[in-house]
Amino acid sequence: MPNLYAITGSFKKQALDFIADPQWIIPSLVAPFTFTLVTLMIYPERDASIVLYAVLGGGILGMWSNSLRASGFSINYDRMVGTLESLMVTPTPLMEVIAGRAIWNALIGLLNSLLVFILAEVVFQTSIRLADPLMFFIALAIILLSLSTIGLFLAAFFVFTRASSVLTQILELPIFIISGAMIPINLMPSWSWPLSFTFGPFWGVDALQIAAGVSSTSPIPVGYAGDLLILFAITAVYLTLTWMLFKKMDGKARESGSLGRY
């Protein structure tokens, strides 16, 4: 059973860090915000359904970008400021500390959705409605967990490389396409579909669209419950891989004594 106190504490600490210095959200939100805004501008007619589609998609892109950048950078930041060694020798597993941060990072990525929503309401003056708010928020919470798990994985993975900032840049935009959040994947060549299917939030996007009342664009329509089940299964796989990666990182760092090197 994970130590929920540690996860909550780390979540709070990350939230306080953000409130103390919120400007660091800018690099994470620039791409999703710009892409969502330009997407809206491309459409010749912007009715409520198009805006809702953009707000939903933009939210996922924002959560992804912030998970990738903030969570990916998480351990590297500790390494830079010299707190990684202290974190490693506390009784709480490092994975639980990073988990709290990753959940916050994915959550605050939703800010993009809020920005797009406000812009849409003020500038385009559309009024958007969710078909089933309860189903919508359940799906959103599960996507949040799934993206947090990806953030955790990236945090551990980036410890092994000095090129984490380059990898972040490489990974950010392709997911905008393969996630299906904005562009239906059936526009992509079919050989690329398996990439989308193994990216958990792809199924979450479909569930969100169903709950919001937007027509589903998935080439494999499995319904709301089916989407969530697949999302759960993929997240469980991510979690297992992440746990293994943290174990490997822990062992390797102790053997090589290179934890503080960057």
Binding site: I26, V30, V38, F176
Partner: protein
């Protein structure tokens, strides 16, 4: 003559240091993947989005060409603007600022590689647009096309250098660099006409060189000669030069302010 020789030496060594430090942490092939991925995925995204949206004012070819040129922004604006921030981050900015060499020469020297990389990205993106999205270059005027790439890169580098001077004084130039990385997508008619913007935002398009770059690139691909796009080229040269001059003055101002406030180590 001695001054020119000294400046050339500084540019050469700053450029060499920039290259060595870049490839010390990142293998060249990974850096290349990064550079190409950003430009190409951006193009794929907006071309697909234009297909999804249906009856848009811009054709797939226009969108692909616009994004191919916009790809230069990563190297000329983001990378150039990040230079002072990178120095700050690695603790070398005070050393560079206190060396007898002029700071602007060091920054320009460090930008040279990024400028060349920017032009290369545009060429790769144009090739991709032709191969994947079927953009036709049958009518292209090669001289006009080369001039557009060259002048746009110069003007956007002027923009990047102007922004980078602020990074000397601000806590981090990364924030600024990130903010302006995708500015062309919104203001420069890359994916939708400038006229679709609210009227109070359109003056911003008029001062951004990319607006003229995108317009003249599309004309060059349709066969326009250099004289036909001369107005765009002259405007870009003028804007780029003004931005360089403003950047130079701002650099001196912010360098002085940073010394007074002792903020050149703060990030």
């Amino acid at each position: 003559m001695g001054f020119i020789r000294q400046e050339v030496t500084v540019l050469k060594s700053a450029s060499g240091v920039s290259l060595r430090s870049l490839f010390a942490a990142v293998p060249w092939w990974l850096w290349l993947i990064q550079l190409v991925t950003i430009g190409l995925t951006q193009m794929i995204y907006f071309v697909l989005m234009t297909s999804v949206a249906g009856d848009t004012t811009m054709s797939i070819s226009e969108v692909a060409l616009g994004n191919a040129l916009q790809a230069v922004t990563y190297s000329t604006v983001f990378a150039v603007c990040s230079i002072p921030g990178d120095e700050k981050h690695s603790g070398t900015l005070p050393l560079v600022m206190n060396a007898p060499t002029k700071l602007h020469s060091v920054i320009i020297g460090k930008s040279l590689f990024h400028i060349a990389a920017g032009m290369m990205t545009v060429v790769i993106s144009l090739t991709f647009a032709a191969l994947v999205f079927g953009v036709s270059f049958a009518e292209v005027d090669a001289l006009s096309l080369s001039m557009v790439i060259l002048v746009t890169t110069f003007a956007m580098t002027g923009f990047g250098l102007m922004l980078s001077s602020i990074g000397i004084y601000m806590r981090s130039s990364i924030l600024l660099a990130s903010f302006f990385l995708y500015i062309g997508l919104i203001f420069c008619g890359v994916n939708f006409p400038v006229s679709h913007l609210p009227s109070f935002l359109q003056p911003i398009s008029a001062v951004l060189p990319m607006t003229y770059g995108v317009h003249s690139l599309r004309m060059a691909v349709e066969g326009a000669a250099v004289l036909d796009i001369a107005q765009d080229l002259v405007l870009m040269l003028a804007i780029g030069s003004i931005m360089l001059l403003i950047g130079f003055l701002m650099l001196r101002l912010f360098e002085r302010l940073a010394r007074i406030k002792g903020s050149y180590e703060m990030f």
